[in-house]
Symmetry: C2
Subunit: 394 residues, 2 copies
């Protein structure tokens, strides 16, 4: 580890700190982060404050996290009407429409069904929106720029089991999922996805799903854009066609460069971000650093992440932290020496299907300039000769 | 509603609940579990209140959790002198003794070292102590009986890197690790373990290690008994022999049936518990249930978990939740029908080395009756014809 200046021990006056001489606090029922870490919070983001005041967002502070699991307290939020205080005793999930046996479940009755456990990312389709539409790159951290992205361990009931119990009729090809909150967010989902790997998520990182992630139950569609993973799930209406709800005909469509609009862009593209170093950080001198970041894809496991320290002219393959799971965040790491010169850092991920992240200009060329959804372009960080790390378009 | 079991809402009037008609709360910086889940707490356990009043314990409520990750707020605690409020700016880690270059690190200087991420269980060697020594089986939940066991994703610096920088002399065969709290818990560790998979853990489930798990840094020795994973780690003293500290010559030794004592029982044995159903629960009628639980071993990944519903006469192999990681909790599941008859449920784990959990009587036979450490005996749950689930010795 030549290059990291760990100080040699020098003789100094012995100091017995307070916390060694006074008794510590006893065990407690539910723990919290250290008081000294109180600044590690989700970033409150209000991009649509004027046009949609009931929307509220918070972003995971990836620049302060170093693993792959997102602690539930820091999982990102996107609420269209705030976080409802759902009473789990009154909450019901209905399966109805084109089924043989309409069913209604309460939370207790669901407790006896078989469960599955899997770690999956969720990403809002509007993640990285500022980099998509701001004329000049915004100088902010990963929490604001890319924080509508998190990764937790989910446990719940395979949707296929509940749908099979209801008995989907042959003409039942779509399911409209509706949330039990004011906006009643509603999305049409192909029945194939629900019968494949969809989950009625009841637990998150071991404990009950948190209120802002859909307590007491949410839909989990691994790899699909965040809003389709309907929170506070109350109704699954089996239909023969998509419902073209306001959420899918309006809010969650992408306008292309040729003027046409894309609807039903379900899967999230392959993507990566370097979290260390990243914008708003300052390098602490020349020498050894570990470049570290996160990669993910809605289509399957990450196959490869490459890092460039020369603006994309040459690339080095990073190490992927095992286990590399499908549709989950994968941390990558690469040892690196910073020689003090201006440097343009980039990461480029490839998934198991061979899909590779586009450059920002490639990504922009596909869409109308107003589109900010599904931005999976390569993120570039500029390190100045003073060691400041800045967000740049490259 | 209060105090009355609510009937199934088979034919009820349509109700628009409050949380749909009033605006929800906006996004916030750090989330917490739902208020309705406030009872999901660590169990405060005080087995040595009279003889060691400064000890305090809390147990993870495994009977209320359904994944494999333990949320950090519910990670078990064992404190010999409480939870110190360590100032991360003043805290130092020293590496000294039989080294070429004694080193002293502050938290900032550690931020530039290469890191690794891995999910590992921690188990107190005193876990399941009541089942070891109580003459009659205690009727309590998994939190009290087996809660000194948790599983989180840890991120930190490989200890081998820090020790190599210090330059361990050829005669440096042991390392005495000391915690920065009142009791200065100190344990001697073979250098081989530290050069193998030991980690200086700085992050837990993505965020900084929690105060009760050693903020700002702890030693992580995958598979080794909990107390050796020294919290608030401040000193690594490289020596040529174990130090025989009070913690290892007194508290953490096992008295055998022949009167001799075993010291340095580092690794935790292969073990499993059924969490659903488990003691204090009541079955909600006959029919389908999913038997679910946790298995782990200090020696490597779990190879197999078998379930018996007839007191150990016949066994069925449970499904293991992927990925099955080494020295991490593995959840197992098995579909099962309860016919309403009295039933004796057991789980039996086998690890990658071929080690299998002993029965309680096999385990007891090895030790002096007073020993309560390293109890990895098979747990038996009795289901009565009324559906009550009870802790039994079998």
């Amino acid at each position: 580890m030549a290059g990291i200046a760990a100080p040699r021990m020098a003789h100094s006056e012995p100091v017995i700190p307070d916390w060694v001489t006074v008794a510590g606090e006893r065990a407690r029922g539910y723990g919290m982060p250290a008081g000294q870490e109180a600044h590690v919070q989700r970033a409150i983001i209000e991009p649509f404050k004027d046009i949609a005041p009931s929307f509220s967002f918070s972003g995971t502070p990836h620049q302060r996290l170093r693993g792959t699991i997102t602690p539930s307290g820091l999982h990102f939020e996107v609420h269209h009407g705030g976080r409802p205080n759902v009473d789990p005793e009154q909450h019901r999930l209905m399966i109805h429409g084109l089924v043989e046996r309409p069913l209604k479940f309460d939370l207790d009755s669901l407790g006896r069904y078989p469960m599955v456990t899997a770690t999956h990312f969720l990403e809002c389709s509007g993640n990285s929106l500022f980099n998509a539409i701001m004329p000049e790159p915004m100088q902010a951290g990963c929490d604001v720029l890319h924080g509508l992205l998190s990764n937790t361990e989910w446990t719940g009931i395979p949707m296929s089991i509940l749908l099979e119990e209801a008995g989907v009729k042959p003409e039942g090809l779509w399911v409209v999922a509706v949330g039990n909150d004011g906006p009643s967010l509603a999305r049409s989902i192909p029945i194939e996805k629900l019968m494949d790997d969809a989950m009625l998520a009841l637990y998150q990182n071991g404990e009950r799903v948190r209120p802002e992630q859909g307590y007491p139950m949410r839909l989990l569609l691994p790899g699909y854009e965040g809003n389709m993973n309907v929170k506070w799930l109350t109704s699954l209406w089996v239909t023969d066609a998509p419902a073209h709800t306001k959420d899918e005909s309006g809010e969650y469509t992408e306008l292309l460069a040729d003027g046409s609009a894309v609807k039903f862009t379900f899967g999230m593209g392959v993507k990566s971000i370097i979290t260390h170093p990243s914008a708003t950080m300052t390098m602490s001198g020349q020498g050894y650093y570990e470049i570290s970041g996160l990669a993910w894809s809605g289509s399957g496991p990450i196959r490869r992440v490459e890092i460039s320290a020369d603006g994309g002219q040459s690339w080095a393959e990073a190490e992927l932290v095992e286990p590399v799971l499908s549709r989950a965040l994968t941390r990558f790491r690469l040892p690196w020496r910073w020689e003090g010169a201006p440097t343009l850092l980039m990461s480029r991920a490839e998934d198991s299907t061979g899909a590779v992240q586009p450059t920002r200009s490639e990504w922009k060329a596909r869409y109308d300039p107003s589109n900010f959804l599904h931005n999976n372009a390569i993120q570039a960080w500029q390190i100045t000769s003073e060691g400041m790390v800045q967000n740049v378009y490259a």
